[in-house]
């Protein structure tokens, strides 16, 4: 893992979102460093998906800031990015793996086209090279390259998620957001996917912010965990510490329920 800068990659302060008078999430602050995996856990409705959308600049916060250290080393306030800078960031330095693959993929476009899209969006105009790179990536996410011209419609749930990962990682991003990437998959398929994500994260030195309701996923992947409840972060710390020695009663409940399951 090469971390050549000791400043945080992403840094947020006082991040807050109200929907009318209902709290989406309130006063969230943390730093994320390169190569670090942060899991945001909580029940549905706890505000974790809202937080992820705010961090990924998909939703405008009511107040608070998100700073990001760009590839050129300059740290920028995401709220001040122009639309074209935002889009460039989204398809080069960031990835976003959706819970529902249909939102993260173009279902009518072949697997190769799905992976190649980012390359073409940043100016690649050589069919052969685009296709070769797409083929490489399909292999890396364990999809048979014979399927390169098939659309994801004919793929299983686990394959679709792996294709999403390939599509996002092909431009070598430094930060990937993941929103419940394993939910809805069979347990054995989940395990294989998590294994893949873990090895890719390690190989590429990715920073990841992953939202999950599944503490087992958090335990397997993350270095740090943030527990959310009713829009607030109620507990945060190193993964082992939070899971093995939870301070908050609510976290204890969450942890015990996963053990019971």
């Amino acid at each position: 893992m090469s971390v050549d800068d000791d400043r945080p990659l992403l840094s947020t302060r006082g991040l807050t979102k109200y929907y009318g008078n209902r709290i989406g999430c309130a006063d969230v602050s943390f730093d994320l460093y390169e190569g670090e995996v942060l899991a945001i856990v909580g029940e549905s409705g706890s505000g974790k998906s809202t937080l992820l959308s705010l961090l990924a600049n998909e939703l405008a916060p009511t107040c608070g800031t998100v700073l990001y250290r760009m590839r050129d080393g300059e740290t920028r306030d995401l709220a001040t990015l122009s639309e074209s800078e935002r889009r460039l960031l989204l398809r080069t330095d960031w990835g976003f793996v959706r819970q529902d693959a249909r939102e993260g993929l173009r279902m009518g476009v072949s697997a190769g086209g799905n992976v190649g899209e980012r390359l073409m969006a940043v100016g690649s105009r050589h069919y052969g090279r685009i296709r070769a790179t797409a083929g490489d990536w399909l292999q890396r996410v364990e999809i048979d390259t014979a399927r390169i011209d098939d659309t994801p419609r004919s793929f299983s749930g686990g394959m679709r998620q792996r294709l999403q990962i390939a599509r996002n990682l092909v431009t070598g991003p430094r930060l990937v957001f993941m929103d419940e990437p394993t939910s809805g998959l069979d347990v054995s398929v989940q395990a294989r996917l998590l294994d893949l994500v873990r090895s890719l994260v390690r190989e590429m030195g990715l920073a990841v912010i992953i939202v999950t309701h599944d503490l087992a996923v958090a335990r397997l992947l993350s270095h740090r965990i943030m527990v959310m409840r009713a829009g607030h972060v109620i507990e945060a710390g190193l993964a082992d510490q939070v899971l093995d020695d939870p301070r908050e009663a609510y976290t204890q409940l969450l942890v015990s329920s996963v053990l019971a399951a």
């Binding site: 639309e83 074209s84 889009r87 398809r91 173009r106 476009v109 072949s110 190769g112 086209g113 190649g116 899209e117 980012r118 073409m120 969006a121 940043v122 105009r125 050589h126 069919y127 052969g128 685009i130 296709r131 390169i148 011209d149």
Partner: protein, 307 residues
């Protein structure tokens, strides 16, 4: 109305539209010329012909035509197709201008689906009738989104479409309305001309104006502007080739129409540009199906297409 043949129709302004409207359209045209390939919204008027039948082209022509202009109208390359006749008559009636079928004589050529074979010259204006001006429309149906994509020069999606074509068919399967990049900036729909005609748009001496009436857009390619058909480095843009020359005038390197002769598979190929074909025949060129066919080599090996 017997005056119809000689002068403008009674009760209507010169060339049908009122001057206010023409001015509005000319302002849109000027903006379009200033930003090559950019689709300028304009307050398209209801015209006395149906939407989709050339209302955009007719409005552009009406806005730029003057009493000294000579107008040519073609549809599918031909001056004699019903819609071309109808539009030519419309201007003969409402503007009383001279009309012609000869490309070289025309100052304004309104067209649907073709670019004439004769290379256009400085001072000529080619007005295209456009059904769907948005090249990204079938990839992204939303106007708000396509405008944003143009603004950000975000054309990855278009390239994905071409990628898919090659992956599926081994080559790009778009044969007409083939997207082009204009002056290195905007991706533009050249209207449903066959891609065979795309190269004629590049660095043309003539001004090219595009009118889409139903969709309320005008765009332009000024003279001497780079027009590049989208492609891949390793799958460069190519136009279709015809196996035989024109059966009437022997022209090669021109776009041909297929004519079904009988129900036993009899076919012949003739020039789509009827004026071009007639001129050649008048000059003595012959093809295999012409009455005075002089046999192979009769045309002295001279290339039909002087371009």
């Amino acid at each position: 109305m017997s005056a119809a043949e000689t002068g403008p129709t009674h009760g209507y302004n010169f060339a049908y539209l009122d001057e206010q409207t023409k001015r509005m359209i000319r302002r849109a045209i000027l903006k379009a010329v200033a930003i090559p390939g950019y689709q300028v919204p304009f307050a398209s008027r209801e015209m006395p012909m149906p939407y989709g039948w050339g209302t955009g082209g007719v409005q552009v022509t009406a806005a730029i035509i003057g009493r000294c202009d000579t107008l040519k109208v073609i549809d599918q390359g031909s001056d004699d197709t019903t819609n071309a006749v109808s539009i030519r008559k419309f201007f003969a009636k409402t503007a009383g201008v001279a009309t012609t079928t000869h490309t070289a004589e025309a100052t304004i050529i309104q067209t649907r689906h073709r670019i004439p074979e004769h290379t256009l010259k400085a001072g000529q204006i080619l007005v295209y009738q456009v059904p769907i001006p948005e090249p990204l429309r079938f990839l992204e149906p939303r106007e708000t989104e396509t405008r944003r994509l143009h603004a950000l020069k975000d054309y990855g999606l278009m390239q994905v479409k071409l990628y898919e074509d090659i992956a599926r068919h081994g080559h790009i399967a778009t044969t007409y309305a083939y997207p082009v990049e204009v002056a290195g900036r905007y991706v533009m729909d050249p209207s449903p001309i066959p891609k065979f005609d795309n190269p004629k748009m590049n660095m043309s001496e003539a001004l090219q104006l595009f009118g889409a009436g139903r969709e309320k857009r005008i765009y332009a390619v000024p003279p001497h502007t780079n027009v590049r058909s989208l492609d891949f480095e390793d799958h460069p843009f190519r136009v279709q080739q015809f196996a035989t020359p024109c059966a009437l005038c022997g022209a090669e390197g021109v776009y041909l129409d297929e004519v079904v002769l009988d129900d036993r598979g009899g076919r012949m190929f003739v020039c789509s540009d009827t004026d071009f074909c007639e001129e050649r025949r008048a000059q003595g060129f012959t093809g295999t199906m012409s009455p005075d066919w002089k046999g192979e080599g009769a045309n002295g090996g001279r290339q039909a297409n002087e371009r």
